[in-house]
Symmetry: C2
Subunit: 575 residues, 2 copies
């Protein structure tokens, strides 16, 4: 496959993970004025995202991003662009993804980068790129921003997977452009960004044709690509521009996004960090290397909500639900990438539960408002990011906390929760006892990737408990009640509290990190499966395994040998 | 966890895979008179399967099967017993699984065996044990033979997973017996036989309680085990025997199995083999080590079906649908275990399509008959075994073949199918052209583990094609028609035929075996997920990964260090 083959350069090994100067940390905060790889242009209801990867713009040295191949840095910009289109451009109804390179749409993830990366880096990279593509589908499904892949050259591997995340795929018909998934024949791995799943489960390509397609490095173009459902249409080059314009306009016609609303600028996120702390306006994290844990505190709103969504929009990025979600989102991504050795995240909240619920109610009462809709879906996506994070999640519920409504989801997302029975007698015997509060928001919009709410998943197969919880909406639930209702795991009292929390964290740190990842990936998703859970569960698990095998990543494996002119050496035994 | 800990013995490493004398092959054929580890007793409608593992009876030397721990040999006997109860004992309505060892029900898979096994052996072993447990659930759901776990001592790991496959779990309440999944804390791996999935998805244990449970090596017993839904009831030892008898009788009361039918003895399967061939009455296999493939030929019936199911039962194990299914079942298991390096299986059939359909019709017309029901479900399970087999499956459809009805499922299970357009002009220009025939059986009972037929899975999201196929039932479809209907992949003519088949096999042999396993595991199961697909897709994929990681299987990993007194060494980075 020329496009992938041509990605090869002769530079030496590199271990991504170093970036952003001396700190060696990766930062996920970016803004369009700093993009190196993407151009965003808006023309009324149609925005165009043009991929024009800077070959020399790799996140770390050691590889060249030839032929619109990408690394994490390229995808961080894409994620930012997708987010900004939703919040800053209410007028945009169609987003066209296309390429500025001649004859090439996108060659997928950079192979030299993959070949040289440590296993954990590859897996984390695939997770983030998957989340970004799921976000593209979420914008199409829930935001009235429909994505159109204008594949104006060959799209191979991750390039085709990017197109697969779009609602409509147009391929130029020029006798050379094709779509392909060359990972198996060329690299001995799977397409890692949902390709296999979307081909059969979203586009309904017949399984035997999908099998054949995935073994053809040169891919499939022209009419056969349409017949096999790999793309929606092929268009001759002379009619390309006009047809893309026409389709974009058609798709825009089906959106209910407002034409006259002002966007909400995603102003720079305030963040300070040193080796041991990360601090935002409404969230902070303390990194405990001794115990292998991170203590995360999320603070509720400091003031009552604005009167309506118009006033909320005037608050812009400072609107508490949006602000706290952005901070959480950035924190999850930062810790995942930069602190993989801290295996347990401990969540606390601080603030007024009533205020949290008041903000939730404002959003729910205005779910038809584009901005409220965006905030709710963003919170949903951020919590889903937490669900697929390979860290043990604990929630610790103490007096003064505000695990209510949207913030209660943090406790429901946790693998275990501990709620103090009563108060800390030595600290403040007159404090209000630790409580959690269910809100309306816990019963609807914040679905997990299995399509169920966290409460539905928690009580999967136990309808009575779900109903019993439903009846207690709005009431502060102290530990005994919360435990009785099955909403928390344990309710130690003042005497046992410190010891129990300490043991839980220490014990977690003593277990095999890999086995914990597998355990949590299984327990967090009871019930039905969806495209998303298939990607994160089935597909990613197989890919993790394959990435770990000598056939791919050993010194003679396909990933390492790619481009050397030497054939990979395989152990022929099937497992 | 004492029971698991006590499994430890000090013998050296062993690599299972050698068995059955000099040949080094594993045989799956066994019969009760040769059981070393199980006792079967029948008392009217209640059968009891008593586990009494012979410590010295390991399949290969090098470990002792202490405390009712098991290896593949123990599970081969269990599988045989479950099958025989269905076919040979129509009167049995409840099957009680219990232990002959004092204070111990079953300590799970033998840890020394696992620690010393090659990766492929572990994965194949888990697959077979999973299939056997799925078979237990299938007997309960579809055969009127309800399984009751009489857990009369501690059930840990695979021991509890065996109980989880039963419909009702009774645990003795003696202040020492407990159920546990100690794999994560003790061995750094996951419970590999569906435990995680069944705990949350079948028994609806709350996810946070499941998390806690899976980190407690000592397990949970007594009333808490009931409160958490880990077991259905606990019974004090003094009332144990009478309560088991009572429950078994209760469960038997809900079955529709006949009280007066004669069983069908599963007489010894005729099989001859040498290094390159395996031959049965209706199936044969040629092992081609040069091309890394196996040529499998399945032959249709030699005579018309018997007049009715009574006559069929008189034919016993010789009744063609039962005979050919047993042969296929044994062949799949044999090749999986003994020929892992032969990565492509090529299926052919020979015989009269009309006869195949006539046998299918006899079964379908008598689906209410216990024997017809058993044969249909056995065929279903055997085809499911094929679906989860990590080999590339090709179907080759030539003149004289009988890919019709039940045998057409072999082509529908294949990753690709090739049907000759017309005839071999040089061989027999007057032959009937190669044809396939859809039967009623392709539209119903032979569901895959995703709950759909292979046709529904094939046409997932394409209802029109499924309907179009439905209209052509009973008609021989030549290559062009079959391709047009989407029932086959390719239809080469006489001139291209040999070359195309040869290239397909050679090309498959050139790909990474691991990547093929992942590809096929993803493409074979479009559409919805079930407990079974979750076990084989999500859970097994995670386990494969974990088995491959240094944290488990490295020299300092938990699986290798278990019982040495040394703590395992983990890379703390979460992936």
């Amino acid at each position: 496959m020329t496009s992938v083959a041509a990605q090869h350069d002769s530079s030496g090994d590199v271990r991504p993970g170093a970036a952003e100067g001396e700190s060696g940390r990766v930062e996920f905060r970016v803004s369009p004025d700093r993009y190196r790889h993407w151009r965003v242009s808006c023309d009324g209801p149609v925005a165009t995202l043009t991929m024009d990867v800077d070959e020399q713009g790799g996140l770390v040295p050691g590889y060249e991003l030839k032929l619109n191949s990408y690394d994490l840095g390229v995808d961080i910009e894409l994620y930012d662009a997708v987010q900004r289109l939703r919040f800053e451009h209410p007028e945009v109804r169609t987003v066209v993804i296309t390429s500025a390179k001649p004859k090439i749409f996108c060659a997928g993830a950079n192979i030299r980068m993959l070949a040289a990366s440590a296993h954990g880096w590859k897996v984390n990279f695939c997770k983030f790129t998957n989340e970004t593509r799921n976000g593209i589908e979420d914008a199409t499904a829930n935001s009235g921003q429909t994505y159109l892949a204008a594949v104006n050259g060959t799209a191979s591997g991750g390039g085709y997977e990017l197109a697969l995340a779009c609602e409509h795929i147009m391929l130029v018909d020029d006798r050379s452009s094709a779509v392909s998934l060359p990972e198996l024949p060329l690299l001995g791995v799977l397409p890692g960004t949902g390709g296999l799943t979307r081909v059969v489960d979203k586009r309904h390509v017949r399984r035997d044709l999908a099998d054949y397609f995935s073994t053809r490095p040169e891919g499939i173009g022209g009419k056969k690509a349409v017949q096999w459902r790999l793309v929606d249409e092929v268009v001759p080059r002379p009619r390309w521009e006009e047809t893309v314009t026409e389709r974009a306009a058609d798709l825009a016609g089906h959106s209910s996004r407002p034409g006259d609303a002002a966007g909400v600028p995603l102003s720079p996120l305030g963040k300070t960090r040193d080796d041991d702390t990360i601090t935002y306006s409404h969230a902070s994290a303390r990194l405990n290397r001794d115990t292998g844990s991170v203590e995360i505190t999320v603070r509720g709103p400091q003031a009552p909500p604005p009167a309506d969504m118009a006033a909320a929009a005037r608050q812009g990025a400072g609107f508490w639900p949006l602000a706290v979600t952005r901070e959480l989102d950035d924190l999850i991504l930062d810790l995942r990438t930069n602190a993989p050795e801290l295996g347990t995240w401990v969540f606390r909240t601080e603030g007024d539960a009533g205020q949290v619920l008041a903000y939730d109610d404002l959003l729910l009462a205005n779910a038809g408002d584009w901005f409220a809709n965006e905030v709710l879906h963003y919170l949903k996506r951020t919590l889903r990011r937490l669900d697929v994070t390979s860290r043990s999640l604990l929630a610790v519920i103490e007096p003064g906390s505000c695990f209510a409504g949207s913030l209660l989801e943090l406790a429901l997302a946790a693998d275990r929760s501990y709620q103090l029975a009563g108060v800390f007698e030595d600290v403040d015997p007159d404090a209000e006892p630790a409580a959690i509060t269910l809100g309306n928001i816990n019963f609807g919009p914040l679905t997990m990737s299995n399509g169920l709410t966290r409460l539905q998943t928690r009580f999967w197969g136990d309808e009575a408990s779900l109903e019993a919880a439903g009846k207690r909406q709005g009431a502060p639930l102290e530990a005994e009640d919360a435990a009785e209702l099955g909403l928390i795991t344990f309710a130690p009292d003042d005497i046992d509290w410190d010891e129990e929390i300490r043991i839980a964290i220490e014990e977690r740190a003593s277990f095999s990190p890999d086995a914990l990842t597998g355990l949590e990936a299984n327990y967090r998703f009871a019930g039905p499966e969806t495209l998303e859970t298939k990607i994160f569960g089935r597909l990613s698990a197989w890919q993790n395994w394959i990435f770990n095998r000598p056939s791919a990543s050993g010194p003679d494996g396909a990933l390492r040998r790619f481009g050397t002119g030497q054939r990979a050496v395989f152990d022929r035994k099937r497992v």
